[in-house]
């Protein structure tokens, strides 16, 4: 090709690069000097962001769950909604079936995969888990798992950890963990010293013990789990060789029923202890870190699961004025935007721009805690599958 065309093509190349996953971009750092660390170039970052936005599921509604705590008197009404339209102005309230016969139990939503919502109510040694398809209005209460533990002095606590679709086996699965903590003289000892992991298969309609020593999970908050392409991801912590506890991403493959961990040590800066939320952005696991010290939010994409060096910082912006960013629930909208509280003193939600940190749309919903997922309708009938 003539030199002239080559030059024009070079300029057009950036438009093409802006469509690539971060792994490819990092590799192509080596092509020429101008392509080194392109994501740090504000113009390119803008192009990259525009692409993410156009690829986002902006035409699918956003499912929003909010905490509804009758016991504390903070009743904001029903707690599951579908938000649609350009400014999230169309809010449809869904009536989630209850997990306990006869009364409204204000369950929490764990995740929403392929239009199926997994919700639960925790209660110490008991947990009730249900699967619900709002489109067909089918609801299935998952049978309880049978955990036998006869060790004296141990007190159990069950928590649900992951829900997702096993694409290899066309099955939906739920993962939960039973912690057994040793009670001595009426006091719980800090470390749960026994962990039993179990997996439920919708196809088999039963639980199965997992013979794995998965890392302990950090305090489960609603923003620490994410499902993507047959893998459930959550926060865990491990004891490193130096004896210190460090946070890791645990990625559990639903078909092979094995897991791997990815350290986030490469993301740590000095002594900063940000609050972290796990989300999915453009088919990649993404970490949103909120730094209370300077009201800053950072979004980092994981280039390759299992590779700690592959965390790539994508967006950094400042929310203002916030004096407390330790609230963990920073979530994604459906337009490559962030959903968070509009102000420090307000319980009202808003959509924020990830380049400027400014509010784009107000969302007419108030809550104390919430979570969001992209919702794609499903016609899956799962009550017929089991006998």
């Amino acid at each position: 090709m003539a030199n002239h065309s080559n030059q024009i093509f070079n300029d057009l190349a950036l438009e093409i690069l802006a469509k690539l996953p971060v792994k490819s971009l990092k590799r192509f750092n080596c092509v020429q000097k101008f392509w080194l660390n392109l994501l740090e170039n504000p113009d390119f970052k803008s192009m990259y962001y525009e692409n993410l936005k156009s690829k986002s599921a902006h035409s699918s509604p956003l499912l929003l769950w909010r905490e509804c705590s009758k016991s504390t008197g903070n009743v904001y009404g029903n707690n599951v909604h579908l938000l649609s339209e350009k400014r999230y102005e169309n809010i449809v309230t869904l009536v989630m079936p209850s997990l306990f016969e006869g009364y409204d139990d204000s369950s929490c939503v764990l995740d929403c995969v392929n239009g199926i919502i997994c919700h639960y109510v925790e209660g110490g040694t008991n947990i009730e888990i249900g699967l619900w398809n709002p489109k067909t209005d089918e609801h299935k209460i998952i049978p309880p798992s049978i955990i036998i533990n006869d060790e004296p002095g141990f007190h159990g606590h069950v928590t649900v950890q992951g829900f997702g679709y096993d694409n290899m086996n066309d099955d939906y699965k739920v993962i939960h963990c039973a912690y057994y903590m040793y009670v001595y003289n009426g006091i719980f000892l800090e470390e749960p010293t026994l962990r039993i992991w179990q997996i439920y298969s919708l196809k088999d309609n039963c639980w199965k013990k997992l013979d794995l020593e998965m890392t302990k999970t950090t305090n489960i908050n609603k923003a620490s789990v994410a499902y993507l392409n047959g893998v459930c991801h959550w926060w865990g912590s491990e004891f490193a060789t130096n004896g210190f506890e460090e946070q890791v991403l645990v990625s559990f493959n639903l078909s092979t029923e094995t897991f791997q961990t990815t350290s986030i040590v490469w993301l740590q800066i000095n002594d900063a202890h940000p609050t972290r939320s796990l989300v999915v952005l453009n088919e990649s696991v993404t970490l949103i870190s909120s730094f209370d010290e300077d009201s800053r939010i950072e979004m980092s994409i994981l280039g390759e699961v299992g590779v700690k060096e592959s965390w790539v910082k994508l967006f950094t912006f400042t929310l203002g004025p916030f004096s407390d960013l330790r609230i963990p629930t920073v979530r994604m909208g459906n337009k490559c935007d962030i959903i968070f509280f509009i102000r420090n003193d307000s319980n009202e939600l808003a959509s924020f721009d990830v380049i400027t940190g400014k509010v784009i749309h107000n969302i007419n919903i108030k809550t104390l805690m919430f979570s969001t997922w992209i919702y794609k309708e499903s016609l899956l009938s799962f009550t017929k599958e089991i006998n």
Partner: protein, 166 residues
Amino acid sequence: MSGISDTERMITLKTVEGTLFDVKSSIAKDLKTVQAFIDDSDDDVTSPIPLPNVFTRELSRILDYLNNHHRFRSGIEKADEEMARYDAEFAKSMSHEELKALILAANYLNVKDLLEFLNQTVADVIQNKSVEFVRNFFGIENDYTPEEEEKLRNENEWAFNGVEQD
């Protein structure tokens, strides 16, 4: 002339080789460079509009794409599937050189949707390719020293896993 609506007007375009193409004005609207020329002309454009940077092969492809997409968009049910199939075939039918030539032509003529599609097609092609392949594809000279490049490769070792053979 009165009574003739805009969509019936034909515009004539002339490629580098001198080939003439008659194009409906509704299609010409998608060639923003051409449309700008028409808008800027004081009189009705009757003589062929010369396109000094566009070859027959490329213009033919571009018009084919636009004609098909206009057809798909004109209200048939299930057009999305047909359009996706057409797009896939369209992309596959070209060699890398032809793809690059078409991008240049679409860029010159400012055909936004087609350019977007072509850029995505190239992104899909190069996503898992090697650094050498990409240099070759874009005609880029390596301006790193061997030491600099080696250092970069080591720092980003993980990004080189699973790269397709050239």
